[in-house]
């Protein structure tokens, strides 16, 4: 199954500047693995050395955080989209 993964600004340099990438996978985890296979540089930004998704990068299936679904085992359907939402801190010094 092909799904679209939306890439946030902070990670676009690692995917050739693309705002979204089409990948294959039947679960959220498989889709992310396909993404990092296409763009290996992205791997360390999404997963720690233990292979787990990093806790400051959230993955949403449509509008729901996969942490509250079946995590990486969350099944994908046709026309689903995944959204990567990283922690950003910009504002002002305080």
């Amino acid at each position: 199954m092909n799904v679209l993964i939306h890439i946030p600004t902070a990670l676009r340099p690692y995917v050739g500047g693309r705002p979204a990438v089409e990948v294959a996978g039947s679960t959220a985890g498989e889709a992310l693995d396909d993404l990092t296979r296409l763009y290996p540089e992205l791997h360390k930004h999404l997963r720690g050395e233990d292979g787990k998704l990093r806790s400051f990068v959230n993955i949403y299936l449509n509008d729901d955080d996969i942490r509250h679904l079946q995590k990486e085992q969350t099944l994908l359907k046709a026309n689903d989209s995944l959204i990567i939402v990283p922690s950003i801190a910009g504002g002002a010094r305080g």
């Binding site: 400051f56 955080d65 939402v85 910009g90 002002a92 010094r93 305080g94």
Partner: protein, 384 residues
């Protein structure tokens, strides 16, 4: 509760004739207090709109001074304020907009010692800071004090906004249990930000603050609003309490939690150490200048983006490869020479130095980047 004077009734007439605000709501605003942490891009429009709307008391936390590079987005400050303390510049503008507002100034960095004391007198805390330690600190202080935290954050063309810890709703740790390690997420100083973006996100924060104070409508609590300015797209994601997140029971050391050194601006710079564990050397601009004068001729790699190199560059740099592309473009970098990497401030070049060191290069990182060079050695070079 303090009533409205004749002058105030004239000033707030467009609020007073709204069913949803009216006299009762405007009096409520007058008797409300909001703390704004940071008077930068987000805090600027936020405080101006809260002042104009008639929020009775506004507290401002900031220890910075106005710099020319702030004015592209921090519209509460003006050209005449360059060099002035931000809290004073902000107060001047607020009182010009609305002299009925009381302004409290906290010219200090919010930390674990003072956060509860500073936040306690306010009804709503608004987070407009630029760093992870302060964001986690503001969040935890709000949770401990039971106060809503109106959140906004920006990067390049992208913004996030929500309301945390409101009516039993989720907080920042439910969204992101832990901060990213230092260096992995670039700051606005390194990544840049389109000037109008904090105007939009800060104004959304102002809207949510007024709604919380008035008990009005549906807030962003439980929803994360994402804004992508370059494609002009808003997106809304569900935000839930995370049962796996441990409860917040006290304030901690947030610099340690985020793995970043405590800011110590006036400390003398340490001499460059011999090869540290990270696998590459660090030299200050002065040390690099001295070595170059002695004939040191490393391959000089600028790892900033092309727009930055167009502003200012070293004429003796050999190549420009953005730090995100270094790993993929090693073939372009000679293996038989020492490599000197630099960026704007030293953060991105540190990441590139690690990549190069891991690939077997002998690498030196320029501490403080081209900004330190311009500041310390060559006043003819622009600082951006």
């Amino acid at each position: 509760m303090a009533e409205l004077t004749r002058d105030e009734i004239a000033r707030y007439s467009r609020h007073l004739i709204l069913d949803e605000v009216g006299m009762a709501g405007q009096i409520r605003l007058k008797n409300s207090a909001v703390l704004c942490v940071g008077t930068g891009g987000l805090g600027s429009p936020l405080m101006m709109y809260l002042a104009a709307a008639g929020v009775g008391r506004i507290g401002i936390v900031d220890f910075d001074v106005v710099d020319a590079s702030n004015l592209q987005r921090q519209i509460i400050h003006g050209t005449s304020s360059i060099g002035k303390r931000k809290v004073l510049s902000a107060r001047e503008r607020i009182l010009d907009i609305n002299p009925f507002v009381e302004v409290d100034l906290y010219e200090e960095a919010l930390d674990s010692e003072n956060a509860l004391r500073i936040c306690a007198p306010y009804d709503v805390i608004v987070d407009g800071t630029d760093n992870f330690p302060t964001r986690y600190l503001v969040n935890d202080a709000c949770v401990l004090l039971g106060k809503p935290n109106v959140y906004g954050s920006i990067f390049k063309f992208e913004g996030q906004a929500t309301v945390f810890n409101y009516q039993g709703g989720p907080n920042y740790r439910d969204l992101y249990p832990e901060p990213p390690p230092p260096g992995l997420v670039p700051s606005c100083a390194e990544g840049g930000v389109i000037g109008v973006l904090p105007g939009i996100i800060g104004t959304i924060q102002a809207t949510e603050t007024l709604k919380v104070l008035l008990g009005l409508g549906t807030t962003l609590s439980g929803r994360l609003l994402l804004f992508d300015a370059i494609n002009m797209r808003f997106r809304e994601l569900k935000l839930r309490k995370d049962p796996e997140t441990p409860p917040i029971t006290r304030l901690i050391d947030y610099h340690q939690f985020c793995g970043v050194p405590r800011p110590a601006p006036d400390q003398p710079r340490e001499e460059a150490a011999p090869m540290p564990a990270e696998g590459f050397f660090r030299l200050t601009p002065a040390q690099i200048q001295a070595r170059r004068a002695d004939g040191w001729a490393p391959y000089v790699l600028d790892v900033r983006g092309a727009p930055e190199a167009a502003i200012v560059r070293f004429p003796w740099a050999d190549a420009l490869i953005p730090h995100t592309e270094v790993a993929a473009r090693l073939a372009e970098i000679p293996r038989d020479r020492e490599v000197l990497v630099h960026c704007k401030l030293g953060g991105r070049s540190g990441m590139a130095a690690k990549v190069l060191a891991d690939a077997g290069y002998q690498v030196t990182n320029m501490e403080g980047g081209i900004t330190a060079w311009a500041r310390d050695l060559d006043p003819s070079m622009p600082i951006y």
